[in-house]
Amino acid sequence: MILTEESVKAIKEKVKLYPQRKSAILPALTIAYRQVGHLSDEIYQEISRATRIPYVEIAEAATFYTMFPKAPRGKYLIQVCHNISCALLGADSLIGYLEEKLGIKKGETTPDNLFTLISVECLGSCATAPMMQINNDFYENLTRAKVDEILEELKAKA
């Protein structure tokens, strides 16, 4: 088993909320993703067993959405918004700065498995641009000094 007992219990609770059990697919995938950091066929199977939703239906939904990647990522997933409002305030240069600081290209993970850097579509922080999301948290109104501080803090915590 990859999913913890706690996750399975939470997934089963979600199923009860809906008139049709299939509606619990996205919430279940979210619970699994928050626990593991990525998804896999094995996890689809475990969700299928917990929810009694066919495996294929879980896989079909999971592969449509961007938030349920199968590839493992670093401990900290850095997602930089590259859409128009952030781009106008320097999102491209922010990505470049992060690439330089982390010594990796966009889409890569640092050798110590600590950071993965990707760029994503609008995250709804347009008036506090540029911004990035790291795991579940938003970091907004970014400057070079702030980025330095955030990365140092995360490294110290790891």
């Binding site: 909320l17 809906y18 008139p19 049709q20 299939k22 509606s23 619990a24 697919i25 996205l26 919430p27 995938l29 979210t30 939703i53 239906e57 079909e60 939904a61 999971a62 449509f64 959405y65 961007t66 938030m67 349920f68 590259h82 859409n83 128009i84 409002s85 781009a87 106008l88 305030l89 320097g90 999102a91 491209d92 240069s93 922010l94 700065y97 579509e121 609008c122 995250l123 709804g124 922080s125 347009c126 008036a127 506090t128 641009a129 540029p130 999301q133 579940n136 948290d137 938003f138 907004e140 109104n141 970014l142 400057t143 070079r144």
Partner: protein, 445 residues
């Protein structure tokens, strides 16, 4: 500890106003708590509706108020509620669309983070109006903090008896579910949202049947935006006639505008509909002008889906009709400001990348067309455009517009068409000189 976006709002101005209401308490750090919300007059409208109004009266009041959908389409809210068949034996569902992801839009997030009960109360009133006993709030998955905040508020509302069984002794039962999305812009389109909520891929559905007749689980369903629903309790408390005192004849009420890009004070500002766009950008109370004394190049007035405006077109009211009269749209109220150094083609390249990525793939014109457009536009911006490319883009746009099930295809091409109309010389320059003529100095600090 709740999470607050550091975004600027005009809450202080709203608090001084007799009429503006959505942002009145958003700078109060306790507003997300049910006790504070109640102290500020919260759940009074819900109680009034449940104990003294018939569903038809609620629909009539909202219809008379002139409230229109704040998510982008601007459809009259009361009229939408009225489409739910009275005699349907099926369950009915009210869904709050909190899948905020139109580039430039960051307003619903503020309501969810700082005043979530306003949304929940509006949802409850809408649910009662259509006879629904189960309502959903579909929040985009990336908004982890909003999901936590709304779930916490929902639990408080249950604990206080605002939700659950036999609410206020009225005999009316109402339950709520917070649903999380998986990262797909298309799920903000109501029929794709319904598929997503059913555990399917987020593909849009052909209408008719409209969701009001056959929506979630093929049952009558109403989908309303967060900001739309948050206005409803105020309409119930103060009446349709009061609401109509704000705004214009056809665009009643107030609206939150997300002002972003090249302005000194990007932020969320609640103003009456019809408010002057130029004032919002330049007035010290709002955008305070363009940084470094730069001149204006263009304004996208309603989010990434709406046609661009030239500087000589921005002395215009922010309402549905006025923006239509200058060839654009109010959309979600996301105003994106581009300064003189910004390349129009570069900005369009950013937008088309987004739409290509977010196309669900169901309709061929949108799925293939957005990809071809991205290739053409990217090569032009990079100095590799060929003679005839602009005509090709124009032709492609014409073959997408109006030929897709949902409006994503239209949304992708309308901004492009507007820039070819207004800045054709700049497009042509890229091809003739094989380079971008603009400084594009978009460095972060």
């Amino acid at each position: 500890m709740s999470f607050y976006s550091p975004v600027i709002t005009n809450a202080a101005e709203v608090a001084q106003s007799d009429d503006l209401h959505l942002f009145r308490y958003v700078e109060d750090p306790e507003q997300h708590n049910v006790d504070t919300y109640e102290k500020h007059g919260g759940y009074v409208a819900w109680k009034k509706v449940l104990t003294s109004m018939q569903p038809d009266e609620v629909i009539a009041e909202v219809k008379n108020s002139g409230l229109r959908g704040r998510g982008g389409a601007g459809f009259p809210t009361g009229m939408k509620w009225g489409f739910v068949p009275k005699d349907s034996p099926k369950a009915r569902y009210l869904i709050c669309n909190a899948d905020e992801s139109e580039p430039g839009t960051c307003k619903d997030r503020v309501i969810m983070e700082r005043d979530p009960h306003a949304m929940i109360e509006g949802m409850a009133i809408g649910a009662y109006a259509i006879g629904s006993h189960l309502m959903f709030c579909y929040i985009r998955g990336e908004f982890g903090h909003c999901i936590d905040q709304v779930e916490a508020a929902m639990k408080q509302a249950y604990a206080k008896g605002h939700l659950g069984k036999n609410i206020y002794g009225s005999g009316y039962d109402l339950d709520m579910v917070v649903h999380t999305g998986g990262g797909a812009y298309i799920c903000g389109e109501e029929t794709a949202l319904l598929n997503s909520l059913e555990g399917e891929k987020g593909l849009s559905r052909i209408r008719p049947p409209f969701p009001a007749v056959a929506g979630l689980y093929a049952s009558p369903t109403i989908v309303n935006n967060v900001e739309t629903l948050a206005a409803v309790p105020h309409i119930i408390n103060r009446g349709a006639d009061w609401y109509k005192t704000m705004g214009t004849e056809k665009s009643a009420g107030s609206k939150i505008f997300s002002l972003t890009g090249h302005v000194n004070r990007p932020g969320n500002y609640e103003v009456p509909l019809g408010f002057n766009l130029k004032t919002l950008i330049y007035d010290e109370k709002y955008g305070a002008g363009i940084p470094n004394g730069k001149k204006l190049k263009a304004v996208i007035p309603g989010g990434a889906s709406t046609p661009y405006l030239k500087p000589d077109m921005i002395d215009v009211g922010l309402d549905y009709e006025s923006l239509a009269s200058v060839g654009s749209m109010l959309g979600s109220g996301a105003i994106i400001v581009l300064d003189e150094d910004t390349c129009i083609v570069w900005s369009i390249m950013k937008l088309i990348h987004f739409f290509r990525h977010e196309s669900c793939g169901k309709c061929t014109p949108c799925r293939e067309g957005t990809g071809w457009l991205e290739q053409l536009i990217t090569r032009i911006e990079h100095g590799e455009g060929r003679p005839g490319d602009i005509e090709k883009i124009d032709d492609l746009c014409g073959n997408i517009l109006g030929r897709t099930i949902c409006p994503l295809g239209d949304a992708a091409v309308m901004p492009i068409q507007s820039t070819i109309k207004h800045w054709r010389d700049e497009w042509q320059y890229h091809i003739d000189h094989k380079k971008c003529p603009c400084a594009n100095t978009h460095e972060f600090k």
